[in-house]
């Protein structure tokens, strides 16, 4: 089953949800959305990780606990099963249209991929699911001066490995840049990609922009100006449509690979765009355990994306 979807700007305001899901991470910003946005949900779940209980993890966990959230400590496999159960419980009949709010700020990229995959493909009774993806931009802190090697480069999840019907086509990379030193360049080199398009985030936290350009100077220096785009972090709808359009354009001559570094709202846009184009893959690059955890405070700027999923067949019959 594949659901089609439409994306809309998220508008803040009093809203009722069936479920609100947040991540218990080690960053200070993990509780910010839950603290700042008035979210009325019948069920509130705070999902933690089984390891790296460092920095603000315990404080965040306590806060969620004290504020009526169920706390679940899950590994990535359990996360998938749990989310599927949550969706199934919400859709015991076809008439109900589940609504979810998900604070993606502190989920890892695998879990983001799992969310997008399940809401767009899970076999559940509900024909419609509405999801608000919320994200708080981190307050600027300088990038780590410690360089570390990558221990993982591969599809973000098996569901997003993509599938080409023409393996002879060259890959093209669509990269959302972050401010980790040369990480994107390393990914491009690893995949031996010759056609690269780069997205640079611009946001209400202006310090990021020069930091991202500086960390990626080696890569940007090799790209044509026409292959570099700036996007607004607070306008994920435009970002999604731009990505979707670019993948569409690339697909005739390339096998697109999306590499979402930087703000996680870009990752959601990339995953949604790849959902519309099964030939496109979404990859992640990670230093895994070699990456030193660093704290990130919230910036007070919350952005969001509303996505309405619905079953394909129904839509087709309405057309």
């Amino acid at each position: 089953m594949t659901r089609i979807f439409s994306v809309h700007p998220y508008t803040a305001g009093k809203r009722k949800y069936d479920v609100f899901i947040a991540a218990v991470g080690f960053e200070a910003r993990a509780v910010h959305v839950a603290q700042s946005v008035e979210i009325h949900a019948e069920r509130r779940i705070a999902i933690g990780f089984k390891d790296r209980h460092t920095l603000n993890y315990s404080a965040n966990k306590n806060w969620f606990h004290q504020n009526g959230f169920e706390y679940l400590e899950l590994d990535d496999n359990e996360f998938r099963t749990t989310l599927l159960n949550v969706l199934s419980e919400l859709s015991r009949d076809t008439d109900h249209r589940p609504t979810l709010a998900i604070d993606i700020s502190c989920f890892n990229r695998y879990r983001l991929a799992t969310m997008v995959d399940l809401v767009s493909t899970a076999k559940i009774h509900a024909t419609h699911i509405n999801v608000d993806f919320l994200y708080v931009i981190g307050a600027f802190s300088p990038p780590s001066t410690h360089s570390f090697p990558n221990t993982f480069v591969g599809p973000i999840s098996r569901q997003f490995a993509g599938w080409t019907v023409d393996p002879a086509l060259p890959p093209a990379a669509v990269i959302g840049l972050g401010y980790e030193q040369d990480k994107a360049l390393g990914a491009v080199d690893h995949l031996q990609i010759t056609h690269v398009l780069a997205f640079i985030p611009e946001s209400t936290v202006p310090e990021y922009f020069p930091a991202v350009k500086s960390a990626n100077a080696s890569l940007l220096g090799t790209l044509k100006k026409t292959n570099v785009f700036n996007y607004q972090v607070d306008d994920p709808v435009s970002c999604f449509y731009t990505l979707e359009s670019i993948i569409n354009g690339l697909s005739a001559a390339y096998n697109p690979i999306l590499l979402p570094f930087g703000p996680k709202i870009f990752t959601i846009c990339a995953l949604l765009a790849a959902t519309k184009h099964p030939n496109a893959a979404v990859w992640r690059v990670s230093g895994g355990e070699l990456e030193k955890p660093s704290d990130r405070a919230a910036s007070n700027h919350i952005v969001g994306l509303t996505v309405c999923f619905q079953e394909d067949e129904q839509t087709l019959s309405k057309m």
């Binding site: 221990t151 599809p155 690893h190 031996q192 690059v285």
Partner: protein, 624 residues
């Protein structure tokens, strides 16, 4: 961001260029000569060594488009139709992910092999389409074109479709190609559906589908026999050209290597692999005991001795000048002579360089004035510095040739200090590594590096200047080596305590480079300091794993003792040197030098990193 039309990343990687575009800038090397014969081949080389270009040049479309003085010679030599089968990491990952990890091993394998076979068959049809194309580009010389009338094409497609269990919409090669494309789509669909089924039931379901059980060699053999018959070519040969063998699933790699023993005399297999390969042992065994009537040759795409690559670099240099419309100029005239190579461009000048006030004599004097150990060395060798101007030419030659590269780095880096342990000069290796032969050595005759650097140098220098200033050369070499290091720094490594201890591949290379620098520059003068290493038994597995990546990326080069063992299963017991691309980073001479054990290097505290903090184990992955 760059304003130039073609960028570094886009220009110098042939992997995704059209065969005609590859041919446009192709300069033949001794490797092409070794590869193109009528035999099975295994091309062994690191990234950028030209594996893809060489394989692509064996396709009819590339040979037709190739305009080079030697092209005709090779048109005669290539007596088969080359079928290039591309592969890349992302496609390998797609096959791996087929069925989302829910398929049984057996069912996943069935579908993976079917996907691979479909890909090979499609590539074969692409080549056949080129061979039967009726349009003739007047600029191209036809190569192995055949005439197939509509009836013959139709009959061929019907017969081959029957053998391949496929139903093209109409009996044409083009329709067959599209049907194969649709088959790949069907395979994915099957994988997705199978992920939701009981695997035993799904296995039975797959058994019923004949098209999933074709063997690519049998399917290809059947098609080329039919094609040869319809084209009236009888026993004409074909070659399957497999690039990036490592990116295919393991069992497909095994199948391909076994295919090297193919008894079908109409079919040749040419594979490209990296220097370290899990299949190396099988390749070696096949190479040493080929099937009757078959010949397997391994082609080494790197140059352990720097001088072996000079001729190819010179050819590339000449070609690039011509392609830019520049008039020819000797590279040593344009780039200057190398600090490391005491030879001159003409014998007539030789006496000048070693003679009184010659460049090398002055360099020797300069170093001897600051370096007591060198001063002593010369005296022991019977060539006191005070007598260097009056010594016989043979005597000067004998000593200067041997120690010139070491003198070059010591003279450049050592401060004005006559003490036992001379201090380092705070100098960047600005122009030390410039000059034609240094540039040749630093690029390792690796086409991607050479073209990348020279393209930039030529674009930054007006033709009328005729000379490329050394600072410009130095800047470009520095930029290329830093870019290389940046890529190595983010190369994936297996998670281990050693990966953290060394801080990844670059940290490990830095330890090795720092050790060599100390031996060559900072310690007492040694005419033959260690500049290569042997991976001994004491080296742990995680470090070996990082070295394997370094080898496949071209950061270290294998110095083979036995040319029949070019692809390696293990690095243990083998000798390596650092790539000369890293020489300027660590301040090393461009020479092979003696070997020392790697564990000796790693045990030496001098090479330990002095900066950066090592993160604690098992910290931090929530935000990856």
């Amino acid at each position: 961001m760059s304003d130039i039309d073609s960028t570094y990343i886009e220009s110098f990687n042939a992997r995704h260029l059209d065969p005609a575009a590859v041919a446009k800038s192709f300069v033949p090397s001794v490797h092409f000569d070794q590869l193109c014969g009528n035999h099975h081949s295994v091309l062994v080389g690191p990234r950028g060594s030209g594996k893809t270009t060489l394989l692509k040049m064996l396709q009819p479309k590339a040979i037709e488009a190739w305009d080079h003085p030697q092209a005709q010679k090779y048109r005669r030599k290539v007596s088969y139709s080359g079928v290039f089968i591309p592969a890349d990491i992302s496609w390998g990952a797609q096959i791996e992910a087929l069925g989302y990890g829910e398929l049984s091993l057996e069912n996943h394998r069935t579908l993976s092999i079917a996907a691979f076979t479909t890909h090979v068959l499609r590539a074969l049809i692409e080549t056949m389409l080129v061979r039967v194309a009726r349009n003739r580009d007047s600029e191209h010389r036809p190569f192995r074109r055949v005439k197939l009338n509509n009836d013959d094409e139709s009959n061929f497609v019907l017969e081959v479709s029957n053998a391949w269990k496929i139903n093209p919409t109409i009996p044409s090669l083009l329709s067959l190609k599209h049907a194969l494309r649709a088959r790949l789509s069907d395979i994915r669909l099957l994988g997705n559906q199978g992920a939701l089924e009981d695997q035993n039931l799904f296995k039975n379901e797959l058994k019923q589908k004949d098209f999933l059980h074709l063997h690519f060699i049998d399917a290809v053999s059947a098609a080329i026999e039919l094609f040869n018959d319809y084209a009236g070519e009888g026993e004409a040969k074909w070659a399957l050209l497999f690039d990036e063998l490592e990116t295919a699933p393991g069992w497909i790699q095994d199948e391909l290597i076994r295919a090297l023993r193919s008894v079908d005399e109409k079919l040749l297999i040419k594979l490209a692999i990296s220097p370290i390969s899990s299949n190396a042992r099988l390749i070696l065994e096949t190479s040493l005991s080929p099937a009757p009537g078959q010949d397997l040759r391994q082609v080494r795409l790197w140059y352990p001795e720097k001088t072996s690559g000079y001729a190819f670099c010179k050819d590339l240099w000449d070609f690039m000048l011509t392609a830019k419309g520049f008039s020819p100029i000797d590279p040593e005239k344009a780039l200057g002579t190398s600090y490391f190579d005491p030879e001159r461009e003409s014998k007539g000048q030789k006496s000048t360089v070693y003679g009184p006030s010659g460049a090398w004599t002055e360099r020797f004097k300069s170093l001897a004035a600051r370096d007591r150990s060198f001063h002593t060395f010369l005296r022991i060798k019977g060539l006191p510095i005070e007598q260097i101007d009056t010594a016989s030419v043979p005597m000067r030659d004998k000593i200067t040739r041997k120690v010139a590269p070491i003198v070059a780095v010591r003279e450049y880096f050592l401060a004005n200090d006559i003490g036992e342990t001379p201090a380092q000069r705070s100098r960047k290796a600005e122009t030390l590594y410039t000059g034609a032969k240094s540039l040749f050595a630093i690029t390792e005759a690796n086409p991607r590096w050479f073209i990348g650097i020279v393209e930039k140098l030529l674009s930054e220098t007006p033709e009328h200047a005729r000379v490329i200033p050394r600072p410009i050369q130095a800047a470009e070499i520095e930029a290329t080596s830093q870019r290389f290091l940046a890529m190595l720094r983010t190369s994936p490594v297996k998670l281990s305590a050693q990966a953290m201890q060394h801080n990844g591949i670059v940290g490990l290379l830095e330890r090795i480079g720092t050790y060599f620098y100390r031996r060559a520059v900072l310690e007492k003068f040694n005419p033959e300091p260690p500049m290569s290493f042997i991976v001994d038994d004491a080296v742990d597995e995680p470090t070996l794993s990082m070295l394997e990546t370094a080898l496949n990326r071209g950061a270290i080069l294998y110095i083979p003792h036995d040319e029949s063992e070019l692809a390696l299963t293990s690095l243990r017991g083998k000798r390596f040197r650092l790539s000369y691309m890293l020489a300027s980073t660590y301040g090393l001479p461009l020479r092979l030098g003696k070997a020392t054990s790697l564990s000796t290097i790693l045990a030496n505290p001098d090479g330990e990193r002095k900066q950066g903090t090592i993160p604690s184990l098992f910290d931090g992955m929530q935000n990856d």
